[in-house]
């Protein structure tokens, strides 16, 4: 399994604050990867480092085996849609497609025209007068039509209304199905990711808390509820992610590769959202100092 993004001890410092610190991860190719984490976990910084828009303060990052933005060839292999999905307000939709054609040797004009047609965008319309959803779609079209091997999307739907959000993600899914493409999509809205991602990386305070295929993660995490019990008495191989107790009852979210055999427990599957929230809240309990830190860094 080769990695589309591989980092080692990666850090980015802005003046005194670290936006990302000591981040080591490997994102495998061939997946639609959801990069989730609380605000300030370093998602945007990581993606901007991956595009070469930022240079690391420490550590290394390789994207598709090369230094990010190493040259025109490397840039051609990576597509990026930024958080604000900015486009040139004074240029028309058609101008943007021409821009894409001029600047990308691998430009797929059929794909671009087809997407604009499906979206019912008027090519003569100025991009500044597009709605937020249309702008995001235009930015995605530009990134897709350069035919990258890796598409990086930084919270592209964060500012969209639910309908536009669904349309955007749907468009993304269709495009991904058509081309062989790895996608890394960051979001703090797990519900969005659930729909499109088959691989999940939970990034909390620059650290990868959990990573893996969504199906594996869902299969290996369970919510257990039953009579009150000390989590320390669980069998080996069952890792408690979160626990809550009342006088008589215990409720645990555990990770285990094997089945839960103890008949005292009522075992329920967990949703992806529960799973992510569990890891986030555990991070908070583990390291209260770092938790405070999260609010500061962006």
């Amino acid at each position: 399994m080769s990695a589309v993004i591989e980092t080692s001890g990666l850090g980015k410092q802005y003046r005194r604050t670290w936006a990302l610190r000591d981040c080591t991860l490997a994102i495998p190719e061939g997946h639609v990867v959801g990069l989730v984490g609380p605000n300030g976990a370093g998602k945007t910084t990581l993606l901007r480092l991956a595009t070469g828009m930022l240079t690391p303060t420490r550590g290394t990052i390789t994207v598709l085996g090369q230094r990010p933005a190493a040259g025109p060839a490397q840039l051609a292999r990576v597509g990026f849609v930024a958080q604000d999905t900015a486009v040139y307000a004074r240029l028309t939709v058609a101008d943007h497609l021409r821009l894409g054609a001029w600047l990308n040797p691998g430009w797929d004009d059929n794909l671009a025209q087809q997407r604009i047609g499906q979206l019912a965008l008027d090519p003569r319309q100025r991009a500044g007068s597009l709605s937020g959803g249309q702008r995001a779609q235009l930015a995605l079209t530009l990134a897709m039509a350069k035919r990258p091997e890796l598409l990086l999307l930084d919270e592209p739907v964060a500012s969209l209304d639910p309908l536009a959000r669904r349309e955007f993600l749907q468009g993304l899914m269709e495009a991904v199905a058509d081309q062989r493409l790895s996608v890394v999509l960051s979001s703090h809205l797990v519900a969005d990711l659930e729909r499109v991602c088959d691989y999940l990386v939970v990034l909390i305070a620059s650290r990868v808390r959990v990573a893996g295929q969504v199906s594996d993660l869902l299969a290996s995490h369970h919510r257990l509820s039953g009579p009150r019990r000390d989590p320390g008495t669980l069998p080996a191989g069952q890792e408690v992610i979160t626990e809550s107790h009342t006088d008589k009852q215990s409720s645990l979210l555990v990770r285990t590769d094997g089945p839960v055999l103890d008949p005292a427990w009522a075992v329920k599957p967990v949703s992806l959202e529960d799973l992510v929230l569990a890891y986030m809240s555990r991070a908070g309990n583990d390291t209260p100092a770092r938790r405070q830190h999260l609010g500061v860094v962006s």
Binding site: T55, P72, V78, D84, P105
Partner: protein, 367 residues
Amino acid sequence: MIRLSMLQFRIQAITAAATLAAFAILLAATGPHLASTYAADGLDSCHGSSCLSPATYFTASLARSPYGVLFLLSTGIILLAPAVIGLFWGAPLIARELETGTAALAWNQSLTRTRWLAVKLAIAGLTAMAVTEALSLMQTWWAVPISQAAADGSGAGVAQSRFSQLNFATHGITPIGYAAFAFTFGVTAGALIRRTIPAMAVTLAIFAALQVAMPLWIRPNLAPADHVAIPVSGQGNFSPAQSGPGGSTFTLFAVNIPGQPGAWLLSSGPVNAAGQPVSTTPAACASIANTGGTNTGTSQATQSGSGAPATGPAGFLACLGSHGIREAITYQPASRYWRFQATETAIYLALALALAGYCFRRLSRLS
């Protein structure tokens, strides 16, 4: 990238073309009449010193005609052009991309940021230099009669030597340097400050400061100045002033140097026979001026040349001369004009290149 730059540059290009066209029409419509006025005043048929009188008349008539205003207006436009370019072409070039977030779009196409910047700088920068120099050349053509009148000896009103601050900065090749510098300074300020409006403000402030500092403190020192001491007489162009009780002290400025037309006078002051600066009026001269009754402030000696009168400013000057007082002048000869033009332009171009180099380095590390 060239095509994208042109697409994004079209508004500025149209503005520049419209400005050039308006400027050309204005000057082309009035230029021939200005030239015919010059000829009608007898200036194209005179020779040597006989030109002085018609040149003086021509210059004086400019002050009453629209041409004087037009000269100053067009000069002002040429002086302002680099600043406007720095503000509206330079400062937003990188800052607006960062501000609106379109940098993420531009820098994730299949070309490096270095190439992106190189093309942008080349297209806008070369246009900036060409537009400014075109304005300058048009006005230089239009103002030939005025420059000629100045060369014929009438250093008055708008007809100043080409070393004068306004003419030096608007004629020759200096406008190219100013445009290149103002533009790249704007780009650099935008890259550092990352916001357009503050970058524009900084660009304006720094460029204006440099344009004031250059003629006052830097340009005079671009080449070692020459020194000369000339005799004081009622026939030279001197500007005397007396002060103190009974006119006991005086100052004296030279307006030009005989035999050195068009020289740039940096400083001048009276010295005695031993070469020491003097400010005390010789007793005999103070009374001459007093009897003349014109020792109230500055009064310029006339050019009449019809013998030194015994009283008045001319008499005062003649008296100073007879007491061995000479005028020491520090100056740059007119022959150094192109050397100064080349040096100053080279300084601005070198600054522009250094700034551009810095932008490339900065951009490779920018978010």
